[in-house]
């Protein structure tokens, strides 16, 4: 399904329901024979994206001759109008009558058991590195533009010429790591493919034009793959100069369009100049700019470099943290074709294991409701991100649809009567953990709640990375931070904990759609009440820590130790006294209410 986008995903492992928007091509792709008559008459000319703008295309076009599907389409942003009176020339000449200006986007519903994300990469735009003059000098090009200029199917039919004046460049400079391995501009990571791509480019040039003199400016040549070193050596043997230096600036001679590269001498003794007819910037790989959309649809995370986060960096490199979702290729990290193909095979194989299973067990962690004690307030119905709790009318206990329940526990934390029980993460189980942690020296400890998918995993990542931090915190794992009942936090303070940390996914990045918004609301309510009760609100901390943020996890642990040390014994004693009184009052009130209810029932 080309020219289509995934717009919605629901369901769960083995049973995803996906909505795909099939964008209108305005040309019937089944009928179109790609004869090209329409292009001849189309009056609108635009830069051809496939040829990186070096040639033009029409408003009705086919991306490139070998495109699949082999059908034309109309770019409606360029077309003179859907109103055939405005133009409509293409429709007039199309013998097959397959042009339809009234074609609409179509929504297609799919049911699938597994999803593989192979959304790929974008290429770094070097315009921001102004000293290289990419936006100013026509003969400074990117490696993607090089590909089109050297390609027999390119705008010049493979005649390698300067965009500035159409002459053949004889002295060509390559600058490596443009947008890569830089803390200041572009990205700090290595883009993986540019070294070998440049080596390839130099070999193509000396093969096509033996009199070409190529120079490559580099930091390190990373020729780590199978047969890569041989490839690099071949380029050197062909006379390509490799200069270990990254230029500071490119200057253009306006009269000739020639370029002068300024580099510092490696011994630090002044600068030197190199003259070229053309410069190729080896631009890096960046995450797809629209990847937040896919991440949101499939509840995926990203690593600090912006690429998709895998379920485990070593052991599950093609599995997403969301069960039933897999990833491969540059969506996961920059990689070349061979690695992409290998990873594609791995992702297909893992998806196969799931699809071949026929039947799978899903986690038993779902919520149940005690109809007898429920007061029918329907708070649970409101907070459930999955609409898994169905109202039976106010005052009646709602119904939980177990198959739709994802197990975040938001309902359990919202329930004011304690009627909802989250299996395997019940109130008493979590409270028992709070009590256990506070049993000895609670005043020296931080009771830290952490969600399974992000902050607990962030803690694991800190561990895997051996990031050292103080020992104050004791983590209690819940599936989602929305499971954290306000009472758990009060209980920790009542039992004498110096600090409480509530940590979860980032606000808009919850594994359970939007459940952690309630976490924030609950923490806000507690902060207000702490203020009213005269307890320092700072003693309750709220942090969003993603699974990839081991560094942040360690920092939070360091910061919280500093805060913990400021909490005095007197302060804790006072808090315990205030909260115990509050609790006693609440218990008495509850007992009185129950007695009244029992008396009423007896009467």
């Amino acid at each position: 399904m080309a020219y289509s986008e995934v717009v919605n995903v629901s369901g769960f492992v083995g049973n995803f329901k996906v909505t795909v928007k099939k964008k209108a091509r305005y040309v019937d792709e089944k009928e179109c024979t790609a004869c090209g008559e329409c292009v001849e008459v189309c009056p609108v000319t635009r830069p051809d994206e496939y040829q990186t703008g070096f040639s033009t295309r029409k408003a009705i076009n086919i991306p490139f001759p070998q495109a699949v599907p082999a059908s034309y389409l109309i770019n409606m942003d360029d077309c003179l109008g859907t109103n055939p009176i405005a133009c409509g020339k293409c429709a007039d000449v199309c013998e097959k009558k397959c042009i339809d200006f009234d074609m609409q986007d179509e929504l297609v519903e799919l049911e699938v058991g597994a999803v593989v994300v192979a959304t790929g990469m974008d290429v770094y735009d070097p315009s921001e590195i102004d000293e290289y003059g990419y936006a100013r000098f026509p003969n400074v090009i990117t490696s993607m533009e090089f590909e089109r200029l050297i390609c027999a199917g390119g705008p010049t039919e493979g005649h390698f010429v300067r965009p500035g004046d159409g002459t053949r460049p004889k002295r060509i400079g390559f600058i490596q790591c443009v947008g890569s391995r830089s803390a200041k501009r572009g990205n700090p990571y290595c883009s993986n493919i540019c070294c070998m791509n440049t080596v390839k480019d130099t070999l193509l040039l000396v093969d096509h034009y033996p009199d070409t003199q190529c120079s490559v400016f580099y930091m390190d040549i990373r020729a780590f793959g199978k047969s890569f070193e041989d490839f690099y050596m071949r380029s050197k043997e062909e006379g390509v100069r490799y200069i270990r230096n990254i230029p500071g600036e490119i200057e253009e001679d306006p009269a000739t369009g020639n370029l002068r590269v300024v580099v510092e001498k490696t011994d630090g003794q002044g600068i030197e100049f190199h003259d070229f007819d053309m410069i190729v910037l080896a631009t890096g790989v960046i995450p797809r700019q629209d990847s937040p959309i896919i991440r949101k649809l499939l509840t995926l995370s990203k690593t600090s470099d912006g690429f998709l986060m895998e379920a485990h960096p070593r052991l599950k490199p093609v599995d997403a943290p969301t069960r039933g979702v897999f990833m491969a290729g540059c969506a996961e990290s920059p990689k070349d074709i061979k690695d992409s193909v290998a990873q594609a095979g791995a992702a297909a194989s893992h998806a196969n294991i799931l699809l071949n299973a026929g039947e799978i067990a899903i986690e038993a962690i779902t919520s149940t409701i005690d109809i007898a004690s429920c007061n029918g307030c329907e708070l649970c119905v409101d907070v459930c991100p999955y609409h898994a709790i169905q109202s039976n009318g106010k005052k009646n206990a709602p119904t939980i649809i177990t198959a739709a329940c994802a197990g975040c526990g938001n309902c359990g934390a919202a329930c004011p009567t304690g009627s909802i029980e989250m299996k395997h993460f019940t109130d008493i189980q979590i409270e028992a953990q709070v009590d256990a942690i506070c049993e000895e020296n609670a005043g020296e400890k931080v009771v830290a709640f952490a969600c399974n998918w992000c902050s607990y995993a962030g803690g694991d990542f800190a561990g895997i990375s051996r990031l050292q931090y103080p020992t104050d915190a004791r983590l209690i794992r819940t599936m989602c931070s929305a499971r954290i009942d306000e009472e758990f936090i009060w209980r920790a303070f009542r039992k004498g904990a110096a600090m409480v940390l509530v940590s979860g996914c980032h606000y808009a990045d919850c594994h359970y759609i939007s459940a952690n918004r309630q976490t924030v609301q609950r923490v806000n309510r507690i902060w207000d009440k702490m203020d009213r009760l005269g307890i320092r609100a700072e003693r309750l901390q709220l942090e969003g820590i993603s699974a990839a943020e081991g560094q942040k996890f360690a920092k939070v642990m360091r910061d919280i130790k500093d805060m913990r040390e400021k909490v005095t014994k007197e302060e804790i004693d006072e808090t315990v006294r205030i909260l115990s009184e509050e609790h006693d009052k609440k218990m008495k009130k509850k007992a009185a209410k129950e007695a009244k209810k029992a008396a009423g029932a007896a009467a």
Partner: protein
């Protein structure tokens, strides 16, 4: 009385299995002290220390202890549940214990690996983590996992070289595959290349 009710109504008999993980945990946490200390925790019937609890001999110890001591709850004090929870759930299931009656204390990722220079404080923290896990284990109840069928079809998002290869592999395995590509043609970035390294063959 069926088996599940029997387990929940029986008084908890907890086995605690403290893992050295070679020196990964034992290099920082005094696992011998934790083992000794855990014996006095409520409802703890036996405590066993292993060099590598996840390895076969370690898992055998768990299975053996469950049978020998009639354990109805298990606490494995080793690494992250995000790493080995499936392993130990499977292990206790082998001898008939419901997998949800197994609880883990994370002494490695959340303790020994991040407190390398603080042996005493790390050991105290490890004790707390075990105490917390035991307190939780006492209240665990068996859970039944829902079985669901799997739709035998796959969605591949992205029609570049990776997506195409994935879709072909899945289709060759006999599955219905939907390949969704945002652009008007499949091919992705690779279709824009001329030759590819290191073989110098055409990209399309």
């Amino acid at each position: 009385m069926d088996e599940i009710t029997k387990i929940t109504t029986d008084a908890p008999r907890i086995g605690v299995f403290v893992c050295d993980c070679g020196l990964n945990i034992a290099g920082t946490v005094d696992t011998a002290a934790v083992t000794e200390w855990a014996k006095d925790l409520p409802d703890v019937t036996c405590v066993v220390r292993n060099k590598y609890t996840c390895a076969d001999p370690g898992q055998n110890e768990i299975r053996k202890a469950i049978v020998e001591h009639k354990l109805n709850r298990v606490v494995v004090a080793s690494c992250s549940p995000r790493m080995h929870e499936p392993t130990f759930r499977g292990c206790v299931m082998d001898v008939g214990l419901n997998p949800y009656l197994m609880e883990m204390a994370n002494l490695r990722e959340h303790c020994s690996w991040v407190h390398a220079g603080e042996k005493d404080a790390a050991t105290e923290k490890a004790k707390d983590l075990v105490r917390s896990a035991v307190a939780r284990a006492r209240l665990l109840t068996p859970q039944e996992e829902l079985k669901v069928s799997v739709t035998k079809a796959a969605l591949v998002i992205g029609g570049g070289v990776t997506g195409i290869q994935t879709a072909l592999d899945l289709a060759d395995s006999g599955h219905q595959v939907y390949l969704v590509e945002k652009e008007a043609t499949i091919g992705g970035i690779m279709a824009g290349l001329d030759k590819t390294y290191p073989t110098m063959d055409c990209s399309i």
